[in-house]
Symmetry: C2
Subunit: 197 residues, 2 copies
Amino acid sequence: MPVPVEFWFDFASTYSYVAAMRVEAAAAAAGVPLLYRPFLLGPIFAKQGWNDSPYNLNPARGRYMWRDIERLCTTHGLPFRRPSRFPRNPVLAARVARAASEESWLPAYIRAVFVANFGEDRDIADEALIGGILDTLGRDGRGTISAALDAEQRGRLREQTDSAWKIGIVGAPTFVVNGELFWGQDRMDEAFAWGRS
Amino acid sequence: MPVPVEFWFDFASTYSYVAAMRVEAAAAAAGVPLLYRPFLLGPIFAKQGWNDSPYNLNPARGRYMWRDIERLCTTHGLPFRRPSRFPRNPVLAARVARAASEESWLPAYIRAVFVANFGEDRDIADEALIGGILDTLGRDGRGTISAALDAEQRGRLREQTDSAWKIGIVGAPTFVVNGELFWGQDRMDEAFAWGRS
């Protein structure tokens, strides 16, 4: 019986983008159920003593990452335009995703937000942008955002971020299978293999 | 015409161990020439503001790494015993490897040192240990070490470490192909694919 794979991601994370665009197909190919777990890297980085992305704090790592992401996008046929601001504020997009955890349109929403951020250099903190994505998916953008911003939903995203730290997540994306963590887009196949075994 | 893949590694690095044990076979399977590039992570970490392994400085990252390494060793059938001291001082082992860059016994030496460190919890800073490995490979252990410790050879390892930083290496293992960097044991296949293309 395959064990579900949880995909923990942050909308501002470059490697989460590469994984998010491929994870649905990988889960289907593996025959493993997939669960989306949006969370916020900001508080996780703060716990590790960083007040910004490590790719900004450490320019050598940043240079490597941007070249690597460009190359990965080419390899996987993903649109890429280096964001004029990095990281973008992912909170609004993540609240909507957390509130939509049971919705069938969630995977399409996630991919559309990531493409806006890393394929089109658009500001995913903008309510008009997120609303437009939701409208395109046949939702009521304004109403969906408004529901996602109520206190209870905000609390759920905070709890999910707390959970991420408690189970040992230190970066994104992380795949979690039966309590085992696999950190990095390059570990996706191993995570699915673990779910099948 | 396949381009050589350079394998940049540090004997104290856990992920370098996993890669080092598999890289020769991967290069042969890909039909790509392999060049070993021992260097020292210590100065590279210092440039990034760290005076110790990030896995020690950041306990959450350390916990993840040790579990991941144990799992990778199981997956790839590699011996693993968590070193009682981490990181071990890799300087002696690296000087010998740098001095032996043209020797046919180099790959076997590298694997033996890594197994001593991560499969047997032995101290790779110990001249007797390194000498014993060299003797087993049919070399004159004492003489080989003595030659590796002369000023010129020491300088070569220092230069190689300086080169690592200059070309943008921030961690180990890193595969370098035609100026492209692939950081992480999990990127080995992509590096060899790049060398073939």
